[in-house]
């Protein structure tokens, strides 16, 4: 007979112990193989807190603006 109550408690304890790092690492390993070989065993670092690269362009592309559109664009031009 399966002891459902005990199993339920064990699963609760399991998730209390698991951290974001341990779950992310497990999931990445499951989906992409053993990534620790490539990345090592350190903690995950949130990239948004890292310093921006010196030569990076801070201007953001605005794809909704119409000025990228041209009547003579070969893709939108009607066939002759």
């Amino acid at each position: 007979m399966i002891d459902l109550e005990n199993l339920d408690k064990e699963i609760d304890k399991l998730f209390e112990k698991e951290t974001s790092d341990s779950l992310i690492k497990w999931l990445l390993n499951k989906r992409f193989g053993n990534i620790n070989i490539l990345l090592g065993n350190g903690n995950f670092v949130n990239m948004s807190t890292q310093r921006q690269a010196v030569f990076s362009n801070k201007n953001q592309a605005v794809f909704s603006e119409k000025d990228n559109y041209s009547e003579n664009n070969p893709i939108t031009r009607n066939a002759a």
């Binding site: 399966i2 199993l7 699963i11 998730f15």
Partner: protein
């Protein structure tokens, strides 16, 4: 309980089932069996087509420790609770929704599902012979994912079918 296992017909007769670790193994890495011969047969006709023949093996599974989410009400609600609990934790702590296979593999690797022998689960069959009434699939397609191979008794070739 009697179960059926479908495999491609190749050069040798199997003396044990093939362990499934494919990505579409929805209950995780396990030995998979069909509850009914109909579904085992349909699986062979539809998906085991490479050699033109498929084998259906018949076996007994002797265990009191199968999580029966199909016929046991208590087990079913336990199962739903654990899956939703795991999905919630994964989403909250990783930002990514897990698949059912990932949850089951996680429970297995973290020694939770090692306390059960397997899971009986159901979905809806695509088998046209199960559509005997109009517009409603009334029949469950039931599968067993067995984690503990020791529970397999009398695994024998039942018959060979042609695609």
């Amino acid at each position: 309980m009697t179960f059926y296992h479908t495999q491609e017909n190749r050069w040798a007769i199997l003396n044990e089932p093939v362990f499934c670790s494919k990505d579409n193994a929805w209950l995780g890495e396990a030995y998979y069996f069909w509850e009914t011969e109909d579904d085992a047969n349909f699986w062979g006709i539809k998906f085991k087509t490479k050699t033109g023949k498929y084998d259906i093996y018949k076996t007994e599974i002797i265990s009191d420790d199968i999580l029966d989410t199909v016929f046991n009400r208590e087990h079913y609600y336990f199962w739903v609770k654990q899956i939703e609990k795991a999905a919630m934790y994964f989403l909250k702590k990783t930002g990514s929704k897990p698949t059912l296979k990932e949850i089951n593999d996680f429970f297995k690797e973290r020694n939770i599902w090692t306390k059960i022998d397997g899971i009986l689960f159901q979905d809806i069959s695509e088998n046209p012979i199960h559509y005997m009434v109009k517009e409603f699939q009334y029949k469950k397609r039931i599968q067993l994912a067995l984690y503990n191979k020791e529970k397999i008794v009398n695994f024998v070739l039942h018959y060979t079918g042609k695609v």
